[in-house]
Structure formats: structure tokens, C-alpha cells
């Protein structure tokens, strides 16, 4: 099965410019590469020259981090224009953004901030997704967030909220398994239950990453979505459970801080590819064309 130009039984990684020379030297068997849209919003220069070369050899995924889809205010049309320019230029197989906010009248917060799940925010986010999809002329995948706080006004469960957004807007979903685990530990919830209830038939891509661990004021475990290490064992265990149930879904390793040598990242990609291909009996049927 092929998912929008990316083979479903392949794994990829977030592309780091410092790995470019080694990747171009031997063009390793990697399913796809993902870049943050915001890193390629400059007009030209070496970043685009390098990415055009990469895109000539590998399927691409463009992952936005700055659209602030979960914000109360209108989307920034200047940013939508920049985003469309990147998507039109690279024609990626996948395009995704986050269920989070980052822009406010006070300026841009360089983080993916949580929002309450209410009928009001559901309507706002659905309208934003409609606007994004119609503006860029393609379907987007919405990613579940890693969260550290909760809102007393929330009335929706996160899985139900995402499923309803998918139903209303026709968007795809991006399941970040590390985010599921981080949020579950932080809020004392069951990650396996979250996964079991997730509408897997709409999942276009899976994200895996490492996290950091600390404690909150009550001495309870507090996990941080740090993307600074290899995928942790509990996250891999959840991932194994997903692919055993649902089969092949393109899977990406995010390693954005303390970035390792390409050989290390490549080894992680090979490990995930092997796990994906070991599972061939799928119960879930992807609706992703």
C-alpha cells in the first residue's frame, strides 16, 4: 500500500541539514524525510538548494509548527501564504500541523501550547482546519499534542475531540505515540486506552520521539516532549501494539535536540522499519488514498 507517495511500510526521520552530505553520499534506504515548514520559509539560498536535492531522491513530509490552529483568534494569513509557498514548491506527500496554539496578540510563543477541549474550541479549530485545507488546496493531518496542563473548562475527551474534528473537516490525523505517552503519564491516564480508542483508520502518519522526565510540585512524574533522545521503551511498546493491530503506517522518528550522528539516526530508522515489516496482519483499514 502507498500512502500519498510514501510507502506505508517505511520509516523516516526529521531531516537535519548537517546530515545532508552523508545522506547524499550513499542515498540510504529511508522511506521519507520530514522538515518543519517554518525552516524553509526564506526566499532562497543553501537551505532550499539542499532540500530540493533531498526531495529529488526521497518522498517528503512537511510539518508545520507555527500556524496556531488552536488559537482563539484568526489564522495569520501572511503565515498561510508562506506555508502554501513551501507546499507548492515541494509538493510533499504529507502535510501536517498541530492541535495547539502559539500566536497571540502578545507575539509568537515558540512552543506548542495546550488548549481546552470545549464545544467552543471545537468549532474554532474545525473552522481553522477548513480554512487551512481550502487555502493550501490539500488535506492536512492534525497531530495530537503533548500536554502538561489541563483546563477546568474542558468538557471533551482528547480522542473524541480529534475524532470529531476529523469527521467535520475530513482532515487526516497524525498519531504521535510519544505525545500520547507523555500526556497520559502527566495527567494520570491510560495510554493503551487512548490508543485503543483512537480512530486509526484516519491516521496518515505516526510520530515517535524521545522524552525527558522530571517531577512536578507534588513529586509526581512529569514527562517533557523533548525530542532529545532515542524512542523510549514504553513508547516502542505502545507502537508495537498499534502496528500489530493496524499494520503499516508510515512512521517518523523526531530527534530535534542533541541531534545524533547520521549513523545513529539511520540505525533507529532501520529498527523501526524492521518492526513495521514484521507486522503484516492488519485489522485496521486505512482510508488514506
Amino acid at each position: 500500500m502507498v500512502t500519498s507517495g510514501i510507502k506505508a511500510d517505511t520509516a523516516g526521520a526529521g531531516f537535519k541539514p548537517r546530515h545532508g552530505a552523508e545522506i547524499f553520499a550513499d542515498l540510504p534506504d529511508v522511506g521519507f524525510f520530514e522538515v518543519h515548514a517554518e525552516n524553509y520559509m526564506g526566499a532562497g539560498g543553501p537551505p532550499h538548494a539542499q532540500l530540493e536535492r533531498l526531495a529529488a531522491d526521497y518522498p517528503m513530509s512537511v510539518h508545520g509548527v507555527g500556524l496556531s490552529i488552536g488559537g482563539a483568534g484568526d489564522l495569520d494569513t501572511a503565515h498561510l501564504v508562506r506555508l502554501k509557498r513551501v507546499l507548492d514548491r515541494y509538493q510533499p506527500a504529507l502535510f501536517s500541523e498541530h492541535l495547539a496554539w502559539s500566536t497571540h496578540q502578545a507575539g509568537y510563543f515558540n512552543d506548542l501550547l495546550a488548549l481546552p477541549y470545549t464545544t467552543e474550541t471545537l468549532n474554532i479549530v474545525a473552522a481553522h482546519i477548513d480554512q487551512v485545507q481550502s487555502f493550501v488546496g490539500r488535506r492536512m493531518a492534525l497531530e495530537n499534542p503533548a500536554t502538561y496542563i489541563r483546563f477546568s473548562e474542558s468538557t471533551w475527551d482528547e480522542v473524541d475531540f480529534l475524532a470529531e474534528l476529523q469527521r467535520r473537516t475530513g482532515c487526516a490525523l497524525l498519531l504521535d505515540v510519544n505525545n500520547v505517552y507523555v500526556s497520559a503519564v502527566n495527567h494520570g491516564r491510560d495510554a493503551a486506552d487512548y490508543i485503543a480508542r483512537f480512530p486509526m483508520q484516519h491516521v496518515e502518519e505516526i510520530h515517535l520521539a524521545g522524552h525527558a522526565e522530571t517531577q512536578d510540585d507534588d513529586g509526581k512524574r512529569l514527562l517533557i516532549d523533548a525530542h532529545d533522545s532515542a524512542v523510549s521503551y514504553p513508547v516502542l511498546a505502545l507502537y508495537q501494539r498499534i502496528i500489530a493491530r493496524c499494520g503499516h503506517i508510515p512512521t517518523l522518528i523526531e530527534w530535534d535536540n542533541d541531534v545524533p550522528a547520521w549513523s545513529v539516526l539511520r540505525g533507529e530508522i532501520e529498527k523501526i522499519t524492521a518492526a513495521l515489516r514484521a507486522n503484516t496482519d492488519a485489522e485496521c483499514f486505512s482510508d488514506v488514498a
Partner: protein, 196 residues
Amino acid sequence: MWHDTQHAFAVALNDPALSVPDVMSTHGARLDVYRNNIPVGLGDVLADIFPVVRRLVGADFFAGMAQVYAKKCRPASPVLAEYGQTFGDFIDAFAPSRGVPYLADVARLERAWLDAYHAEDQAPLSIAALTEIARTDLDDLVVILHPSAWLLNFSGPAVSIWQTFSMPGPSSPLGEINRIRGNAVDAYNKEYQGAA
């Protein structure tokens, strides 16, 4: 209303001294994850954009200076490669770095370097193309700079210092800078005052 809740959240992020807003069923340490991520992230962005400034003042001083700047001046957009356009002016007014007078100019040079790096690709005008212009047309000729070209005017040896300290190597003590600074000032004087 999410608009009001989001505003309370944003205000609490900007001021760590504020307690957790009532709308959040959470502890201070949880909110502190965001309160920490944002300035640390911006500090990393500034360190990437201004590596020579960082080498000149050292990692600790730079981190402290970056935090003051980041608190005062949030990114205008999610395109973080454009952040720090006012960092040079900020350094000019930053009292603790006043002993390093060329620092602000080095920051302006590094900022311009990154703008040039991301500028639109265009073939530069060749000398051959220039020679094809008729002598009589030269008076009406308007030169348009290439998108990656920037004109900067420095009163000190920022270029020489930047050239020297953009080379990889160990962090440099101020004594080394002062030696170069002397040489650079000489070079500057010969080059520009001599030409004037």
C-alpha cells in the same frame, strides 16, 4: 470564552511571577514547562543566529543577555530565522556589554549574514553584461543590489573581528580580541581614511 482563557494563559507565560490562572487545573511546575521552554528555545535560536557574538562574550554571558532580549522582544512571526533583527540595537543599550563596544556591530553583521543566506536566488550581473552597455547610457544606469547584498556601515573593526572569530576553534579570551582589535583598527584606518 477561549479568547479570555488564552489571554490569561499568555499573560501567565510572559510573567513567571504570576500564579497559575484559575482556569487551569494544574500545578505551577506544569506551567513552568512552557515558561521554561519558550525562553530556552529563543536563547538557542539567538545562539544559532549570533555565534560570533556568543564566542566573544562567552556562553554564560550570552545566555543571560539573550534572556533579557527574549523577554523584551518576542519573535514577530513563527519564522525564527528572521528573529533578532533588533539585537544589535539592544546590545548598544545593554549596560553590561558596554565594555565591548564593537559587539553590537558584530551582531548586525551576523544578522545581515543570515538574511543574505536566506535571500532570493538570482544570477548576479556579470562584467560581460556591463561591458555591453553603451557608454552614452551609463549616466542613466541604476544599480540594483543583488537580494543577498547588504550595505552596513561600521564605526569600528566589526568585520575583522567577525572574520577572525567565525573560524572554528576554542573560545577566545578578551586579550586576544584586544590584540586583533588593535590590528583591525589599523587596517580600517589605512583602508578607509587613506582612501578618503
